[in-house]
Each structure stands twice: as structure tokens, then as C-alpha cells.
Subunit: 383 residues, 2 copies
């Protein structure tokens, strides 16, 4: 149940010698058609890696025929040769498939400032191209792993069509991380403009609401390709709903595999004046080191939740806030209410609910706790 | 060299039994006049503690005659009795000094949601009032300590007048913290409006640029009182410069005493289009967990600095950024430059310089690294 589940796709994952471990480190996903519509969203970070600079141009016409992904180096700020390496990789993929380089998206992950070995990369592309298969999705998903402990795959079935997907990163608190790479495939017939709208709607409420440590990568890329091989054109609503389900499933897998985390935390703000304000409030709590450290300590410290809410511009009355932790309303009307001793945080999943009493909008942002393992992983190794 | 160094002030610090350790936990600083001009700045957090709600009213007329400060509980969101406790404390101070309660600022620090014992507080106020002395500044500075390892005091001399100050918190990564309380005294003659302008200018470039863990307390209060006892009226420029020096000195003491921190980090952005943009860029780096963890690991990871800069809206060309760490320009024009192996981060003080090449403005934001001790302190204890 991988990116090669929908009809019209082949994939491969090989070891190109980029990872010091010798593990698979180069993946290739190819759309065999008959259609080649696509949509892609990139990191919002203004400092972008070379593969992002290249791929931004590739996706402008809505046509993508292949996605190649490598680990072992982000190829970001690697000097004048860096962009040329990305382009050489795209050309090599194109040569092997008989397509144009301009239809090849390139993704990379790893240290900023570290250049990939171009010869290893190109040899890896050749090997991947030779290994392409309609069963290759699982290998591709493994090849994009860095410190993920499991590969992340998803399939969502429609009426005679389906969506497949793979992901790595973001939500993982470990070296070579913060970069999130996602490839989604579908055999539905979906024009590029509709694909773009669906992808943006789906990422907005899934990946964009994952906020593990507040840091935004220079390399994040989410690409969806439509082969049209099913011959079926779903309604935009049906397709968007299915794509959203696929993205949310992958996002939750990333959250749960956050290396170094002891808890997954869902922060839901309800009765906000607008959805943006609900997100703003949830995100402020998701980014509070004091709150996240408290969760690590199994401490239902709702005071830190209020102190975060107070930094936002959302509409609310500071004297009339309700906060629940794992369903226990520890604070009502900004006053101690139910006994926090009744909140059991020893399980992995934690939920926080914040009632702003200012409207009908709601939103959830997910994060992990702040742990010793996070500090260790991000201080003991360069990444 | 404390808050009682300038003429016209008395102070005391006593143990009221609020701290479980039995240490001093209630401080009182009194302006004996002849003038009673004052200025105060409070936390920007919209969720404010009861002492802040009370004190905001007190300071509106520019007249403050006494500041009383307690630890053992922030008195924030403590239910309907909470505000009444704050008011009772103000009244008790007023009664002992023969002044109006409306001229008494109250500050508290400790857990949110925890109520102080009113009887202990009032008894403590009586004891402090009896202990007032022109040499009491050192005791007061000790009484506001919570997990500070040293008390923080400052004195800045003017021409025939002086400024004294004491501080606790913010910059300390420990339980019962994030709250910053500061009391400044001067025997200069300074009308309230000038005091207000001077204090805002001073805090803007000192305390407001301390960003230890990105969290904003519900209780922060900075108060300055002018006794006029020197009979001298400095120019606003001279007074503002001296007050800025005092605030900066206290801020640096807070930064250096950050419990749980291994490094003090100064992030200076230069050649920004505006000062606000320089602050925005410096602060984005100061709040990056990945950057701060890297410093903890003595790793000059400039890639994480760029990834933070890229999240801001400041004017710059992402392809033309220079970054130095401890004076070594590891990145020029967004490309690896001097060898990062030449950056020695084993000392406590770290400097990062970011050149945006977009103007003439500059600003520094200070922070600490993200350490295991921070996680421990903020997860193992409720605060």
C-alpha cells in the first residue's frame, strides 16, 4: 500500500553510497501516464535549497513526470556547483526515461552547506532507473528515510481510483531532520489546477498544522502526480477529501515517529472567531518550550497554556478561558476548576482543548513534547 | 550598591513563610520623597496576574510611593479571592507607611493558579515595614530571588544623582521562572512623563531583547521611582542613557545567571533596513530550538541560523547573507566561507553576527542555549 498502488506509476529505492550507513538513500517515482498533471507545495522558508530552486521552475507548467529524492545532503547553500549538481541529477533521470529534465522534480535532505557527491548521485540515478517497478513503492519509501524508525506510506481508495503516498521527516526530532518530503500519486484524472487547489487545501490542515519544534526547513517539498490511468474523473470535493485524508494519515505517522519524543500532543482551539485565530492560539501553545517540557514531565501545567494564549492577538476575554487536558477541564473562566490530579499524562497521546468563547471556528495543531532526547539528538550531532 | 544607594529610599527583605525553604520571600522598597514620580512597564501578555491588574491601576497617575514583591505564588488566575489578596497586601503596606493603597505597586512570582496564603503575606508585610532601612537594598534583592543563584543589583552614577536597581528572573531557565521583576530607584528629579519615556526607551533595548526561551510571563513588572532627593534635574538624554545602562547591566546579569544554561548567546543583526527588522531576524534565531541545541553541543551550525532568518519578513537577498560565529565568517554570500572548525564554542559567551546588506540598522537579542538542564528544570518540577 504505497505510491505504486495507484495505476500508472513505477518506483525504486537504491543505495547510492550517500549515507554513511550504506542504506538505501536515493528514491525515484515515475508517472507513466496517460496524463502528467501535478501540483507541488514548497517550504515557505525564504532561504531555499538548490533542489527547491530547481523544482520550483519544473512545476510551473503543472507537468511532472518523475520525482527523484536523495538523502546524505540537503544541497542547500553549497556554493556555485550546488545548483549544477541538482540539474545534473534531473538530466540523468530524464536521459534514462526519455523525458525532459524540465519535467523532473528533485528533492534532497541532509545538512545545509554539505554538497552531495555528484558521481555517487548520478550512479545512483542509473541504478534506480534500472530498478523501476510497479512494486517499487516500498523501496522508495525506505530510501527516503533518514532517522525515521519506520517508513511512512498511505493509500486512500476512491470509487475506481486511488491515492498513494510516502513521507519522511517533520515531526521527527532527530539529526538530518526538520525536512519533510512527501510524494503522492493518484490514478484519478485531475487537471493540474484542480490538483493544486486540492493539495493546498489538504496540506493546510495536515502538514501545515504539524509543529514539532517550530523550525521550518529549507527543503520541504510535497508533490502530487496524477496518471489518469483509471480513466475516472472524481469531483473536486471527493478528490480533495481523499487527498486530505491521505495527507493527514501521513502527518500523523510523522508525528508518531518523532524520534526523541515521549508524547504526541494535539492542541485544539474551539469557539474561535476565525479559523486563523484558532490556528494562531493552538500554534502558540505548540511552540511553548515551557508547556512542552511540562508534558514531558507528565505535569498538567495549564498555567503555561494560558501564558501562551496571552501572547496571541486572537479574540478572547483573558478572564474567561476554559482549558481541558485529556478531557479534564482544569480551568474554567480562567480559574482553577477540576482537579489536575485527575489528568493522566503517562500515555503517549495528550490532548489540550482551549475554549475561546468567541465564535464557531476551530483548529488543531499537533506537536511533541520537549525531551532530553531532543536536546541530545540536536546537539550531539551536526545536522 | 543597591536600590537604596540613591538618596530618599528605604527597603527591606524578610521571610514571610511563603517559600518552603524558609528563605527571604517578601521585599519592600519605599520612596521617601520629596517627589514620587514613577513609571512602570508590564508584561505584554494579555493573560495578566492579579498583582499586574492591580498595579496597572496604581501607576496610571504617575505616582508610586512603594513597591512590595513576594514569591511563593504568582497569584494569577487564582479565583475571586486572588485579586482581593493583592488589594489586602497593598492596604497593609499603606497602613504601615501612612500612605494610600493606590500608591502601592504589588508584584508576585510563582506558580500560576496557586494562591498565596493571605495571613502569611500580611504578617510578612508588617515585618518588612518594621525592618525598613536605608541599607535594606541588599536584603530586598535577596528576598525577590527564587532560583537565582545570586541577587542582581546595579548602580549607575550621574552628576550628583544616581540610579539603583534590582532584578530577578527572565533569563533564568528554572522553576518558578520566566517572571521578571525589576525595581529601579533614582534621586534625580524626573517628572513622570519623562520617566515613562526613559523607561520605555531603556527596556526596549535591554529586557525586551532578552529572549531565553521565547516564553512571556503573566507577571513581568519593571518599576522606576524618582525621589528627587538630590535636587538635580538631569537632561532627559542624560537620564535615559543612565537608565539604559542600568537596565542593560541588570539584563546581562539575568542572562548570565540563567540556571541550566551553558552559554550566553548574543545575536546581532547588522545592515538591516530598519531596527525592527534587525530585531525580528535576531529574535528568530534566538527562538530556534535547533540553533540553541547546536550551541549546547558546541556545534557552529550556521545552516540552522539561515533556516531561521528565512522565516522572517525582513529585507534581504536569500542568496547574499553573511554569518559569523565568534568572529569567524563561516558563511559569505550564502555560501560556505571560513572553516567552521575555527569556531571555538567551548567558552560561555557566543556571538552570532548576521549581515543582511539591506540598510544601516542593527540590533542585538540575547538568549541562552537549549540544554538538558533546561528540560529537567521545566519538566521535573511544577512551576
Amino acid at each position: 500500500m504505497t505510491v505504486t498502488h495507484p495505476h500508472g506509476f513505477t518506483a525504486a529505492g537504491v543505495a547510492a553510497g550517500l549515507k554513511s550507513s550504506g542504506g538505501k538513500d536515493l528514491a525515484l517515482v515515475v508517472n507513466e501516464g496517460p496524463t502528467f498533471d501535478s501540483a507541488t507545495v514548497f517550504t515557505a522558508n525564504r532561504c531555499k535549497a538548490n533542489p527547491v530552486l530547481w523544482s520550483q521552475e519544473v512545476v510551473k507548467d503543472g507537468t511532472v513526470k518523475a520525482v527523484v529524492l536523495n538523502s546524505g545532503g540537503a544541497n542547500c547553500y553549497t556554493g556555485p556547483d550546488g545548483f549544477q549538481t541538482t540539474h545534473a541529477v534531473a538530466e540523468k533521470v530524464a536521459e534514462g526515461l526519455g523525458i525532459g529534465a524540465i519535467d523532473v522534480v528533485v528533492c534532497s535532505t541532509g545538512l545545509i552547506g554539505l554538497a552531495n557527491d555528484r558521481d555517487d548521485l548520478l550512479a545512483g540515478v542509473e541504478a534506480a532507473t534500472s530498478a523501476l517497478s510497479a512494486d517499487g513503492g516500498a523501496h522508495a519509501a525506505e530510501a527516503i528515510m533518514t532517522t525515521d524508525s519506520v517508513s511512512k506510506n498511505t493509500v486512500v481508495e476512491g470509487a475506481g481510483w486511488s491515492i498513494g503516498g510516502m513521507a519522511k521527516g517533520a515531526g521527527m526530532l532527530a539529526p538530518q531532520l526538520a525536512t519533510m518530503l512527501v510524494v503522492l500519486t493518484t490514478d484519478a484524472v485531475v487537471p493540474a489546477a484542480d490538483l493544486d487547489a486540492a493539495l493546498r487545501a489538504a496540506t493546510r490542515v495536515s502538514f501545515d498544522r504539524l509543529d514539532s519544534d517550530g523550525c521550518m526547513s529549507t527543503n520541504d517539498t510535497v508533490t502530487v502526480m496524477a496518471s489518469g490511468a483509471s480513466g475516472i474523473t472524481p469531483t473536486p470535493e471527493d478528490f480533495t477529501a481523499a487527498l486530505t485524508q491521505a495527507c493527514t494519515d501521513l502527518a500523523m505517522q510523522l508525528l508518531k515517529d518523532a524520534e526523541g519524543a515521549d508524547h504526541e500532543i494535539a492542541i485544539t482551539t474551539v469557539h474561535a472567531a476565525t479559523e486563523e485565530e484558532a490556528v494562531e492560539v493552538s500554534r502558540s501553545v505548540a511552540r511553548s518550550n515551557l508547556f512542552k517540557a511540562a508534558v514531558f514531565g507528565n505535569d498538567p501545567n495549564w498555567g503555561r497554556v494560558l501564558a501562551s494564549i496571552g501572547t496571541t492577538q486572537a479574540q478572547f476575554d483573558p478572564a474567561d478561558l476554559d482549558v481541558a487536558m485529556n478531557g479534564v477541564w482544569v480551568c474554567r473562566q480562567s480559574t482553577p476548576a477540576e482537579d489536575p490530579a485527575g489528568v493522566d499524562l503517562t500515555g503517549r497521546e495528550v490532548s489540550v482543548t482551549i475554549d475561546l468563547k468567541s465564535g464557531d471556528a476551530r483548529a488543531t495543531v499537533w506537536t511533541n513534547d520537549l525531551t532530553h532526547a531532543y536536546v541530545h539528538e540536536n546537539s550531539a550531532y551536526s545536522s
